[in-house]
């Protein structure tokens, strides 16, 4: 027993080292290539330039402004889309006639990628905030609605029949049967929604915006400021990771609550 556990514990430092090895090698390579000027500055900026750009943007207050605008759009759009999606999906799962009326249109719209709606929404709402929040809400709506719908339909039929026999009113039915049975799948839908919302928002900001991380990158591209573009790519990655990781953490917490 003891021998097994030590044998298992031994490789951990080596693991951590190999985990960091590749990223560190890449960073070293990046520094080396730019220092030795094997590739022109316009094609690959040096890491120091990127860090300088972060400082410069931060000093000018631009970075905070862009971040604030992007995150505000993301959360406004995500929450409105997710709430509507959840209500819609659960209702469609619970009510047969609602399903008959709404499912065909819902499925038809679900086939169309959110990004494809951007030009249409620009024509209807102009390039202001409304269109960005609506496109994010649209991206958030469908995965949550689908998760809610599927999970409600996955509730064993006899649970609902028992509730019907006892003439259980709607709210206790939702609280005691629907919510516990559907939370895991809905959470997965929400996580998917959040990462899709973020991608669509970045795309919308790249296409038409006066502020936001996407607009900052697009401006950098037009001005040939690769340092700013790299800062933008890095930030979108970090935010995407943080959103996904945060949600997974939330899911595991809630799963523990459920089993506990």
């Amino acid at each position: 027993m003891n021998a097994i556990s030590t044998a298992k514990r031994l490789p951990i430092p080596a693991d951590a080292l190999s985990l960091l090895a590749a990223p560190l090698t890449m960073l070293a390579l990046w520094v080396l290539v730019t220092r030795a000027q094997w590739v022109p500055e316009q094609l690959l900026v040096s890491p120091t330039k990127v860090i300088e750009a972060v400082g410069e943007l931060w000093e000018a207050g631009e970075l905070q402004g862009h971040l604030q605008n992007s995150l505000r759009r993301l959360f406004l759009g995500f929450f409105s889309g997710a709430i509507f999606g959840l209500i819609f999906g659960v209702l469609m799962g619970l009510s047969k006639s609602m399903e008959d009326y709404c499912a065909p249109l819902f499925n038809a719209f679900r086939q169309i990628p959110s990004i494809a709606f951007i030009p249409m929404l620009i024509l209807i709402f102009g390039i202001d905030e409304t269109f960005k929040i609506i496109i994010v809400a649209k991206a958030a709506f469908f995965p949550v609605a689908l998760g809610g719908y599927d999970s409600v339909r996955g509730i064993p039929k006899n649970y609902l029949e028992v509730a019907k026999v006892y003439q259980c009113p709607l709210w206790p039915l939702i609280k005691q049967v629907v919510i516990p049975a559907t939370v895991p799948q809905i959470l997965t839908g929400l996580r998917l929604s959040l990462s899709r919302s973020w991608m669509v928002l970045v795309a919308a900001e790249l296409m038409a915006a006066d502020s936001g991380i996407g607009q900052m990158m697009e401006w950098g591209r037009q001005m040939f400021r690769m340092d700013i573009v790299v800062v933008g790519v890095f930030i979108t990655g970090v935010i995407g990771f943080a959103l996904d990781y945060g949600f997974k953490w939330l899911e595991s917490r809630l799963a523990r609550w459920k089993t506990g």
């Binding site: 590749a22 065909p104 249109l105 086939q111 024509l123 973020w198 795309a203 296409m207 697009e218 790519v233």
Partner: protein
């Protein structure tokens, strides 16, 4: 029979209501008619761009970008994912880099790719390659990792050759996952084709066509493009589901 018909009818209520609201909005005056193009005009534009070949040219260009990207990105992804699944050492070295690159939303790479490769065909294809690369790596990796260990042990005990292990265990065992990977890669390749065409407007393609139409405030063309994108996506999903159902039919008999 009657029930099914009635159900279909119910499903038509909302789309028809939507169309009627649209048509009514288009008759509220000239300003409205610019945005809410009358349905009849959309139909006429559809006939026009179908007959002069504009729709077909752009559709084929988009399909070309999507399939080239899918083929290249998918193959490379399949290779890398299998290597990572088969050799833990490769997984340890490449895994962290792969997962950190994956955090950047796909279209977030577009400005950087634009700086490096311009805004033409190459840049678009590269975005699509990346889009189909990620799901193939993840799923082929999962496919190999999910193969039951005792199957491999049986191979070892019976002295199966390397080729036999691949032929009878590794390939059939990971095939279902690989199909899930192809399924995702196909969907992402289509989305990213449209996205990259919207952002790199040079050259033909449905996305570029839609963007040009938006600049010229031609709502009818935009709507036709959106509908075509949806229909093509749907056809891709349906045909792949049929194909994988056919190829994996041996599974259900277990």
């Amino acid at each position: 029979m009657g029930m099914v018909f009635f159900k279909r009818l119910k499903g038509l209520v909302l789309p028809l209501a939507l169309l009627m609201t649209w048509e009514m909005a288009s008759r509220q005056g000239r300003a409205y008619a610019l945005t809410f193009i009358p349905i009849e005009k959309i139909g006429r534009s559809l006939i026009e761009i179908t007959l002069n070949g504009e729709l077909l040219t752009n559709l084929l260009a988009s399909l070309g970008t999507a399939s080239t990207g899918l083929l290249i990105g998918g193959t490379v992804g399949l290779g890398l994912g299998s290597l990572m699944g088969l050799y833990p050492r490769v997984d340890k070295i490449i895994g962290p880099v792969f997962h950190s690159f994956r955090q950047v939303p796909l279209l977030g790479w577009i400005p950087l790719i634009g700086l490096w490769f311009g805004n033409g065909c190459l840049a678009k294809t590269l975005v699509v390659c990346l889009a189909s690369f990620y799901p193939m790596v993840l799923n082929s990796y999962a496919g190999i990792r999910n193969i039951e260990n005792n199957h491999l042990e049986v191979c070892r005990v019976l002295g199966a050759s390397r080729w036999q292990t691949y032929r009878y265990i590794l390939i059939p065992g990971s095939l279902p996952f690989i199909f899930i990977g192809i399924y995702h890669a196909l969907a992402f390749s289509w989305i990213s084709t449209v996205g990259s065409e919207l952002l790199f407007t040079a050259g033909p393609g449905l996305g570029g066509m839609m963007q040009t139409a938006q600049m010229a405030a031609k709502m009818d063309i935009v709507i036709i493009c959106v509908a075509s994108i949806g229909i093509v996506g749907l056809l891709m999903n349906v045909s792949l589901a049929k194909l994988s159902g056919h190829l994996l039919r041996w599974r259900s008999t277990r």
